[in-house]
């Protein structure tokens, strides 16, 4: 099964409202990445978090990595219609002697004007 769990699956908001998606892992992650996929498009890298308790901001987007490095969140302040899309988190999963990226199932954000 997938290593990283992401909730909620869908989120409807009115334009201007805030939005948060959560990513949880049963094991400690060395890092976590976030991607955005617009409808009909491909995933685009947003950010990578590495340090325990790390917080990074990109304009209205705030990314957090938990102290135990088992969870992460993406918060969007005052959503706009351009924020519509599916947001994925991705963490490394051990496979043989290496690590492979494992994606959460994503949170689809729908913004109503």
């Amino acid at each position: 099964g997938q290593q990283v769990m992401q909730i909620p699956q869908y989120q409807h908001v009115q334009e201007g409202e805030d939005f948060t998606t959560y990513c949880n892992s049963s094991t400690t992650l060395s890092n976590i990445q976030w991607y955005k996929q617009r409808p009909g498009g491909h995933p685009v890298f947003l950010i990578q978090l590495v340090k325990s308790g790390e917080v990074k901001k990109q304009k209205r987007l705030t990314f957090q990595f938990g102290e135990a490095k088992k969870n992460s969140s993406l918060h969007i302040t005052a959503t706009q219609t351009t924020d519509v899309g599916t947001y994925f988190c991705a963490g490394p999963k051990r496979s043989g002697g290496s690590y492979i990226p494992t994606f959460g199932r994503g949170t689809s954000l729908i913004v109503h004007p």
């Binding site: 997938q2 992401q6 699956q9 060395s30 890092n31 990445q33 991607y35 498009g41 491909h42 995933p43 685009v44 890298f45 990578q48 994925f88 991705a90 963490g91 490394p92 999963k93 496979s95 043989g96 290496s98 690590y99 492979i100 990226p101 494992t102 994606f103 959460g104 199932r105 994503g106």
Partner: protein, 114 residues
């Protein structure tokens, strides 16, 4: 730079037919990946390559084969397509291992198997 390109963009197959999806990148990346995306399932890794001439299995490799004869190209083959392989396929590449590096995705191939 074109980044990561995929051909074809769309394809319809009948059960049992074979096909090859081509991925090309012009960023001189060592690592390349093939994913499939199904509704509500996120992205699942099929196979990946850590360099020219190497391939490895991902989470869902059954029914697929891959080859990386040239550094810039990564081919995904379906020898005998099944309806369960109806999906959107994304190729990605990264400079270092994607578990710790940015992945750049191609535009995707939408495959329907009847």
């Amino acid at each position: 730079n074109a980044g990561v390109t995929q051909t074809p963009k769309f394809r319809v197959l009948k059960t049992g037919q074979s096909m090859t999806l081509l991925c090309a990148q012009d960023m001189n990346h060592e690592y390349m990946y093939w994913y499939r995306q199904d509704p509500g399932m996120g992205l699942r890794l099929i196979h990946y390559s850590v360099g020219e001439g190497t391939t490895a299995k991902g989470e869902v490799p059954d029914g697929y084969n891959v080859s990386r004869l040239k550094k810039q190209n990564f081919l995904l083959g379906l020898e005998s397509a099944a309806p369960s392989q109806t999906s959107v396929y994304f190729c990605a590449s990264s400079y270092a291992l994607a578990a710790a590096d940015t992945q750049y995705f191609g535009p995707g191939t939408r495959l329907t198997v009847l």
